[in-house]
C-alpha cells in the first residue's frame, strides 16, 4: 500500500508542475487565438470610431477634466475633444491594420497603449469594460504570430486525384498559446467577481434587478402587478439566476483552454451549456434590459463563441469567411505572380500615392475636430513607408502595411460618415453648451448636426428635427 504524498514530496511538486505546464502551454486549436484577435481588433476599431468619437465633446468641456490617476493628471495637459477624436481615430485605424495585416507585437502593443490612454485620460470614461479591453489587448499583443494559413484547417484529399472520394476531415492545426489561456482565465476572474458583486443584500433580494428590469417591461409590467406579494420573490429568483449563470461562466472559461484536447464528452457538453449561458446573459442585458454599456455584450458573445464552441464547428464557420479573405488576398497584388510588379518601384510609388491621398482626403472630409491632423500624420507615415519600401527595406511587407492602412482609413471614413457618429457628436456638443448657458454656441452645434443628418436649415422654414435626444451616455456603468 503506497503512503499518501506528503506536502514536501517531490512527486507532488512534479505533478503540480506538469499540470501547470499542461494548462498554460498545452495545445489549443490555433484558430481560437487567431479568430479572437481578428474579431476583437475589427470590433474595437468600429467601437472607437462609432461609439467613442461621438462622445469626444465631453473631454475637457468647460475647461474641466480629471484623469483616472493623480500622476496622469499632473503629467498630461487638459484633454480636448479634438485630441480625443484624433486618438480614437488613430486607435481604430491601427486596430484595423492589426486585423488586416498580421501586425507584429509592437503594433498590437501600440493599440493596447492608445486604447488604454483613451480611457485613463479622463474619469468621464469609467466603463469597466474599457479597462477589460485593455487587458485583452495586452494579451493579444503577446499572442504568438499566426497566419490564416497556419490557423485554418486544410482539407486533405483522399488518395487518388479524381478518385471521386470526398476530402478527408481536416485536422485542426494546434498551437501553444499561453496568452490565450491567460485571457480565458482573466475572463473567468471577471465573471467570478461579478458574481461576488451580486451577493450583496439588495441584489440577492432582487431590488437592483427590479430597478433594472421594471422600466423595460412595458405591458408586461401590468401583468406583474397581478402577482402581488410574489413580485419580490420573482425578482429575487431572477437575480439568483444571474448569479448562477455568472458562476457557470467563470467555471466554463477556466475549462476553455483544454477543450481541444479533452477526451471527456461531459466537458464538451458543459462547454455548450456555458456558451448558451453566455448568450442568454448578454443578449438579455443588451436586448431586454437595454443596459447602456457600449458593445460590451457583443465582445463577450464573440469571446464565448471563439472560446467555447467546438473547434471543428468554429473552423466551418470561419472557413467561409477565410476563403473569401484568401480569395481577396490572392487577387491583391501582394502575392502571386503580380507581386513582383507591385513591389517594383513604380508599383510602390502608385500604392504610396494612393495611400497618401486616401489619408489626406479622409482627414479633410471627416468633418470632426482632430480628424485633419490625423489624416495629415497618417499621410506622412505613408510617405515615409513608401520611401522605406523604395529603398528596398522589406518592400513586400511594407506594401502590405501601406495597403492595410489605406484600406483601414477608407473603412474609417465610410463608417463615420454613414453612421450617426457626427450627428451625435454635435448634438452632445449643442446640448452641453445649451445647458451651460451658451445658446449661440449650441445653435451652431445643432446646425452642424443637422448638416450631417442630411438637411441644411433653410431660412424661413422650420428646421428638420434632429434625431430623438438620446439619454446622455453616462460613461459609467
Amino acid at each position: 500500500m503506497s503512503l499518501p504524498l506528503r506536502p514536501q514530496d517531490p512527486r507532488l511538486f512534479h505533478a503540480a508542475a506538469r499540470a501547470w505546464d499542461a494548462y498554460w502551454f498545452g495545445p489549443v486549436a490555433a484558430l481560437r487565438p487567431y479568430a479572437l484577435a481578428k474579431i476583437v481588433y475589427v470590433v474595437l476599431a468600429l467601437d472607437a470610431w462609432l461609439l467613442r468619437v461621438p462622445v469626444a465633446w465631453r473631454y475637457g468641456a468647460g475647461g474641466f477634466d480629471v484623469a483616472h490617476f493623480g500622476w496622469l493628471d499632473a503629467l498630461q495637459p487638459l484633454p480636448s475633444a479634438a485630441f480625443y477624436t484624433g486618438l480614437m481615430l488613430v486607435t481604430g485605424v491601427l486596430a484595423m491594420v492589426c486585423a488586416l495585416a498580421n501586425a507584429g507585437w509592437r503594433t498590437r502593443l501600440a493599440v493596447a497603449a492608445l486604447w488604454t490612454y483613451g480611457w485613463m485620460m479622463s474619469l468621464a470614461d469609467t466603463y469597466q469594460h474599457h479597462y477589460f479591453l485593455s487587458l485583452v489587448l495586452v494579451l493579444l499583443a503577446a499572442m504568438p504570430p499566426l497566419s490564416g494559413r497556419q490557423a485554418l484547417p486544410v482539407a486533405r484529399r483522399a488518395a487518388g486525384r479524381g478518385s471521386g472520394r470526398a476530402a478527408l476531415p481536416a485536422p485542426l492545426p494546434m498551437t501553444s498559446a499561453w496568452p490565450y489561456a491567460l485571457l480565458t482565465a482573466t475572463v473567468a476572474i471577471v465573471y467570478a467577481y461579478t458574481t461576488v458583486t451580486k451577493l450583496d443584500l439588495d441584489w440577492r433580494a432582487g431590488r437592483v434587478m427590479e430597478h433594472l428590469g421594471r422600466p423595460r417591461l412595458g405591458t408586461l409590467g401590468a401583468s406583474l402587478e397581478g402577482l402581488g406579494e410574489w413580485q419580490p420573490a420573482l425578482w429575487a429568483a431572477l437575480s439568483a439566476g444571474v448569479v448562477l449563470t455568472e458562476m457557470l461562466l467563470a467555471a466554463g472559461y477556466l475549462l476553455a483552454p483544454r477543450l481541444d484536447t479533452t477526451r471527456r464528452p461531459l466537458l464538451r457538453v458543459l462547454a455548450w451549456v456555458v456558451f448558451a449561458a453566455a448568450l442568454s446573459l448578454h443578449l438579455t442585458a443588451e436586448l431586454v434590459l437595454k443596459l447602456r454599456i457600449g458593445w460590451f455584450s457583443y465582445y463577450m458573445i464573440a469571446l464565448a463563441s471563439v472560446c467555447l464552441l467546438p473547434g471543428p464547428l468554429l473552423a466551418r464557420l470561419a472557413g467561409v469567411l477565410a476563403r473569401l479573405v484568401e480569395t481577396l488576398a490572392e487577387a491583391t497584388p501582394f502575392t502571386g505572380p503580380r507581386a513582383a510588379a507591385v513591389i517594383a518601384p513604380r508599383g510602390l510609388g502608385v500604392l504610396g500615392a494612393a495611400a497618401v491621398f486616401v489619408c489626406l482626403g479622409a482627414g479633410a472630409w471627416l468633418g470632426l475636430p482632430g480628424a485633419w491632423p490625423v489624416g495629415a500624420a497618417l499621410a506622412l507615415l505613408m510617405a515615409a513607408l513608401t520611401a522605406l519600401a523604395l529603398a528596398g527595406r522589406q518592400p513586400r511587407r511594407t506594401a502590405q502595411y501601406m495597403a492595410a492602412t489605406g484600406f483601414a482609413v477608407l473603412v474609417m471614413w465610410v463608417s463615420v460618415v454613414s453612421s450617426r457618429a457626427r450627428v451625435d457628436y454635435y448634438v452632445e456638443k449643442g446640448m452641453d453648451l445649451a445647458a451651460r448657458g451658451d445658446p449661440r454656441g449650441a445653435a451652431v452645434a445643432f446646425g452642424q448636426a443637422r448638416r450631417y443628418q442630411g438637411g441644411r436649415a433653410v431660412p424661413g422654414r422650420a428646421a428638420r428635427p434632429l434625431p430623438p435626444r438620446r439619454v446622455p451616455d453616462a460613461g459609467t456603468d
Binding site: 490555433a30 468641456a61 507585437w105 458583486t197 511587407r397 446640448m431
Partner: protein, 180 residues
C-alpha cells in the same frame, strides 16, 4: 513596422511531437529558462487580477468601485438616489447668513458627466472641483460639498460633508451634523 519576432519566447518553429500521434504545434511552447520566465509572468498577472478587485472589499471605501468588476452593483444603485449640493460661502463685507451662500448649479457649470462623478464623491473629482471653485472667484471664502444617500443601508454610503477653506487650502471631511 515590419513584423519583428514576438518577445513571448515561443520559438516560432513548429514543435516536433515527443510521442507519435501527438499534434504538431504551429507555435512551440517556450522551453527552459524562457518557460520559467513566462510562468512567472503568468503567476504575477493572475495575482494582480485576483488581488486588485479583492482590495475593494478590504479597503472599505464603498464608493470607489473601479477595477473591482462591480458593474451595476447595489452601490451604483444607491448612488443614483443620493442628494448632493455644492455651496460657495462668499466673503462679502457686511453680508452674512444666506446672503453669503451661493449654491453652485453643477449642471450649468460642468458637462453632464461630472455631476454623476461628483455624486459618487470621487475623491479626485471632488478635490479638483473644490479647488477650481476657490480659484475661479476670489470672493469665495470656502466651498462645501454635502451628500446624503437615504436609500443606502446604514453605514454603506454614509452622509458626507467636504469643505475646502479657500484661504488656507485645507480640506475637511466630516460626518453629517457637523457644524458648518
Amino acid at each position: 513596422m515590419p513584423r519583428a519576432a514576438s518577445p513571448t519566447a515561443t520559438t516560432g518553429r513548429p514543435a516536433v511531437p515527443a510521442t507519435p500521434g501527438a499534434p504538431v504545434l504551429v507555435n512551440a511552447p517556450p522551453t527552459g529558462r524562457a518557460r520559467g520566465l513566462v510562468s512567472g509572468a503568468v503567476a504575477a498577472w493572475l495575482l494582480v487580477q485576483l488581488a486588485l478587485p479583492a482590495s475593494y472589499y478590504v479597503r472599505g471605501e464603498a464608493s470607489e468601485e473601479r477595477f473591482a468588476w462591480r458593474m451595476f452593483s447595489d452601490v451604483w444603485w444607491y448612488h443614483k438616489t443620493c442628494r448632493i449640493s455644492l455651496v460657495e460661502r462668499l466673503d462679502i463685507p457686511g453680508e452674512a447668513g444666506e446672503r453669503s451662500r451661493r449654491p453652485v448649479n453643477l449642471d450649468r457649470e460642468y458637462h453632464a458627466t461630472w455631476p454623476r462623478q461628483i455624486q459618487r464623491a470621487r475623491r479626485a473629482v471632488l478635490e479638483k472641483v473644490l479647488r477650481q471653485r476657490c480659484d475661479t472667484d476670489p470672493a469665495v471664502a470656502s466651498v462645501v460639498f454635502t451628500r446624503a444617500c437615504p436609500q443606502a443601508p446604514p453605514g454603506r454610503l454614509p452622509a458626507l460633508r467636504v469643505a475646502r477653506d479657500c484661504r488656507t487650502g485645507r480640506v475637511e471631511r466630516t460626518a453629517p451634523g457637523a457644524a458648518p
